[in-house]
Symmetry: C2
DNA sequence: GTTGAAACCCGCTAGTA
DNA sequence: TACTAGCGGGTTTCAAC
């Protein structure tokens, strides 16, 4: 799966830049845009897929279009907990589909979650599920009024 | 682009669930997994693409694999600013590739950014770019120690 | 060993009943 | 909704450097 961390060169970055913006471009177009032959492009892509650099190809759904217009950030502080509590916490929270991002933080808050929900009522439903599943106490939520930018494109540099 | 907000039924949700997890599945496999003909699956997908429900197809890059192992959240508070300042702020911050998410918030913090950077030094570079581009004052950063969950799959429900 | 070109063949796309 | 035909593109192979 991860054969000794292959180095990525400029040509790879060109390919990745295109594919992480639009994965539906053909090898032909890819080759014309990168000044390499189609099967060189194909070989490089395949190598990066096998190396895990390209994790997967997905369809991105517009959350608004399916009625998920509300983004909520949930900050959680935990007082000392055992390892198994933490493990269980991570597992049960990860299993909630509305939790789309979940980080262990340094500083003030210990955990930060990003939720995608339909409405306040929907948020309340998920919130209850959340505190029930892990028996949390110190939880505070912030609501996003507007998503100014959201991209899955990572900042690639030479 | 958005012809009168078509309703999404269960069959559509089945398709979306698969495609938002793995967009590389063939129509044949899609049809066998959803009990609809390949042709029907294709037509539904095309309709959802045209309706903007499926926004795009992208390759997801593992940030760690390309040396972007650090996720930072930046909370910004603004004291009263003019409309044009706000507009310029949104535009210049959005243009920074390391800013992968950018929200206008309710409550304590006015804006929340998510950054993908390589290291502390890299973070510092982006931070400087940030405060220079929009002349910010009240900025506080929190570092993610661990990404427990990150998914682009939205919580689809019947 | 690495690169490019060309053939193969599968599967996407679209037209028709 | 199902069938079918065309064709575009991913995959493989082979030859050349």
């Amino acid at each position: 799966m991860k054969p000794d961390s292959q180095k990525i060169d400029e040509a790879d970055i060109k390919l990745l830049s295109i594919l992480q913006t639009d994965a539906s471009v053909s090898l032909e177009e890819l080759s014309s845009r990168t000044a390499m032959s189609a099967n060189t492009a194909w070989r490089r892509i395949k190598r990066m897929e096998e190396a895990g650099i390209i994790a997967k190809r997905v369809a991105l759904i517009d959350p608004e279009a399916v009625g998920l217009g509300m983004t909520v950030f949930v900050a959680i502080k935990t007082s000392d907990h055992s390892d198994e509590w933490l493990e269980n916490f991570a597992r049960s929270v990860s299993a909630i589909p509305e939790v789309v991002e979940f980080y262990r933080m340094s500083g003030d808050t210990d955990y930060l979650l990003k939720l995608l929900v339909a409405s306040i009522a929907d948020y309340d439903r998920v919130y209850k599920k959340l505190i029930r599943s892990a028996k949390l106490s110190d939880v505070s939520s912030s609501f996003a009024m507007e998503t100014i930018k959201f991209t899955t494109a990572v900042p690639l540099r030479i």
